[in-house]
Symmetry: none
Subunit: 202 residues, 4 copies
């Protein structure tokens, strides 16, 4: 067999393993996943994985990087062909949605490890979040009734409002400075400003 065939075969194997790893890690989370199951799913022996990856961690990282690289690349490419800013933002969103449909559960893998720790806890938290969404929906509906708000989709707006909070977690990671509280106040106002008035010029 020719050398190119060999390395072709190797590359194929590599892909098989990544794919199998993706499937199982997604379904069970990192710690509940056993190397043996990945091997079985890939149709190879347990030891063979170690010919391609030094260990479980590296396999996991390799798999995530593979996925995320594809994701990041498709997002980047999507911005290269829009005519105006709006077109570009829409293209990005399209690219994201396309990815999301294909790898729905990747984020769930990356979030909520405890889905696998306790289904009850997971449900309990989902219930809590649903109640919070309902709470915000009620407030928004009140705003619409009072004529203050446009007749927007209250559910979607509620979710956006709540997800926008994540900024405070994400940002606080980067901004660990002393005047954190000050900038938080400003962030809050800016966030509400965008939510209330949008980013467009009138």
């Amino acid at each position: 067999m020719q050398p190119e065939n060999i390395s072709e075969k190797k590359a194929e194997r590599y892909e098989d393993i990544i794919r199998a790893a993706f499937d199982v890690f997604i379904k069970k989370g990192f710690h509940q996943t056993k190397m043996e199951e990945i091997a079985r799913k890939a149709g190879i022996g347990k030891g063979t994985i170690y010919e391609y990856f030094p260990g479980k961690k590296e396999l996991f990282c390799g798999m995530v990087k593979e996925c995320m690289t594809w994701y990041f690349d498709s997002i980047r490419q999507s911005t290269e062909h829009g005519e105006n800013f709006r077109q570009k933002l829409e293209n990005m969103m399209d690219a994201h949605i396309k990815f999301a449909m294909h790898a729905k559960k990747l984020t769930s893998l990356m979030s909520h490890d405890f889905t696998y720790i306790s289904r009850d806890l997971h449900m309990w938290i989902m219930q809590g979040q649903k109640k919070m969404i309902g709470l915000v929906e009620g407030i928004l509906r009140q705003g619409i009734d009072e004529g203050m708000l446009r007749p927007i989709d209250v559910h979607l707006a509620a979710v956006m409002f709540l997800t926008s909070w994540r900024i405070f977690f994400a940002e606080s990671v980067f901004n660990d400075n002393e005047d954190a509280e000050l900038s938080l106040e400003k962030m809050k106002e800016k966030t509400l400003d965008i939510l209330f008035h949008g980013i467009m010029n009138v």
Copy 2:
């Protein structure tokens, strides 16, 4: 010793354990955390934990529920005292920020298990997200330059734009119906509409 003192002491111990569990679970994630370390942190013996919790899972769930109950409650209460819808939304955000400052890393515990699997991977993904934020910031800046957008904080708006995508994952969990793609198209437009024009009536 009087019975009230005993149950007081028990309640105190319970709190000690929850606190120690919080610290260690936050720092290491569920699977990397050893019961012995929690015990050490709580200043008690390994076996003592099992006098208060049936097992590791239950301790974890107890800890999360304790935190989230406090969070949910404070959010709910925050909406009871606002005069108008805007006041209420602000109150909610304040309550959230207060919690976020106190339990910064709780969400990171609940999301991204792989922070603990590989610091490198975590950093790599953060870099990717930063690049994406930069990408969006550039597009938004272009929009401002073109006079289409208000002189908003492009960083904040970029993050909001990106976090708003989570809706598609979150929603897809609830809407597993056939016409998912159709509703996705609508969701996209509605999301962009809110982002562009805000929720306020003009």
Copy 3:
């Protein structure tokens, strides 16, 4: 309180614990039995047991010795009042049956476990059984001297006589009916009949 009352109370407690230990050990075996359950059954605190016994092993041994002493004594006494060898053997069997009915499961409890729990206890019981064998041997020898018995191997016959008692345990497992005592009487007679006259036709 007077000292004799105190030691009276102590003796009473001691008995309570032995009785509770008997109940639980019989029901669950040595290793499955938890000290806490014995304490609960005895209506005292867990630590109190250790005021009366150095540990679990010693409690078990104490309980077994108490029972077996009573058993051995009743067997010995039963041989003191028979007129002839047959009467004595019957008395022994009666004494055994009476004990067996009261402590059906004790023998099964004892049979193996405690060889490993306490070599001393094992030896002690072996000694007791040896004495019993000697007792029966004496009776049989008397029978031979009186010309009533053939010049059989008294040791072997004694062991056979004693092992034949196990029937009462084995059978009682299958026959848990009301008229158990009646059928026991019949069994005794049949057993002695076979022992005395053999199974062969003459």
Copy 4:
């Protein structure tokens, strides 16, 4: 390596483990036996046992069943080649003695403990014993039909016959001398003599 060699090796390992388990369980009892010691005795790693048995309980049960199957089988076979009832009873006793010499302490191991270890195993063994009783009953009934035996209670006599075997276990403890087999032969004859003709003078 050929597949037959592999399964040969596996079967060999299986036997090694059973044998090691037998040795240690017999010497120490179920609860005092540590998996690690069995592994050491079998010359393998601790984890390897779990490739062959799901757990400690199952290993114990497997070991007991292996032994008892061999025992029950040898007893059954022994009754197939006797010409008359006496020959058959003698064959049974021979088979038993052969087993008893090989596995002196097995019965004492089995007697109680595993009621709590595995109800299934307990039932399984009870079934085996019931079959053995039935076997002897049949032989005795044959003897009665042939006019050789008195119309005794065959069930009781069968149980007595079987329990009398315990002598060989009990005695062998005291007589560990070289000529054990010789004295066993004598014991067998004496035992049968008493069983057949009783102890009474005619």
